[in-house]
Symmetry: C2
Subunit: 132 residues, 2 copies
DNA sequence: TTATAAATGTTATATTATTACATAACGTTA
DNA sequence: TAACGTTATGTAATAATATAACATTTATAA
């Protein structure tokens, strides 16, 4: 079992915001939303984001430069992440599929390189957008 | 068979540079390198990059905000990309593994969403860096 | 309790990317 | 070839994303 991380003040403010929103948030949108709580500078946001990513409470959606709360309770560390992204409505959700994660975690090619981490982003149209 | 794309002047200058370098290049580094060829503004670079990505001549390494020439002659369109990235020396190479690409292209979960595209980035230490 | 690490606050600045608008080159087909 | 639509180019300004550097405070643990 992983040590439970107790979040610092800024980390908690920022995590709570992202978690409540339920969707990917961008750093400056986060900044705007927490200014009333006394977080005034981008760096304060980025530092909290860095830490939250490091401990697996949030993930960065690289293709969108945005951050989403981890939706997978067992995922303490961001070493194996997969997301589905709708290219129309930009809805993002984390994929929890044990076959997929096993397949990718064990993947190796002929380069002799051992992978310790991966990030996978799938793109397409979500059900709603497809039926429009 | 895909129509062969004939690159425009700027597209060709920028593709040749990235292709020759053999490694991921960042937009402003590209800009710096092509200024002697008359490309003076960021937008000229980004426009060419967008087009080159669209037609599959280059790929964007999302976690690095960098662009690398496609190393897979059969890959005309960037719909299914996988890369291995060394977190120490930042060496990047494109993974061409038909099992992997088949697995991912056919992947579907219970969301009912059909994926038309994916991008996968593996991280670790390359052989050289591991043995240091 | 003291020293070490982690987090915070603040200013400035670096890096990455796009908007808006004007013009030129290219490809099609009437 | 002339006219049209499309693609590419040029240029300036600015928006959006992220980090450097430095001073200080708070938390943790020996």
């Amino acid at each position: 079992m992983q040590k439970e991380h107790s979040l610092s003040k800024n980390q908690k403010i920022i995590f709570d915001l992202i978690d409540k929103s339920g969707e990917p948030m961008k750093a400056y949108s986060i900044l705007f939303n927490v200014q009333k709580k006394g977080i005034k500078a981008p760096l304060q946001v980025y530092r909290a984001l860095d830490k939250l990513v490091e401990i697996g409470k949030i993930h960065k959606i690289e293709s969108r430069n945005a951050f989403i709360a981890c939706q997978n309770s067992s995922c303490q560390i961001s070493k194996a992440t997969a997301f589905s992204i709708c290219e129309s409505c930009e809805n993002v959700s984390e994929i929890s599929n044990s076959k997929l994660s096993k397949y990718l975690s064990n993947f190796s090619d002929d380069s002799g390189m051992k992978y310790s981490k991966y990030n996978l982003e799938f793109f397409g149209l979500c059900k709603k957008c497809k039926s429009k």
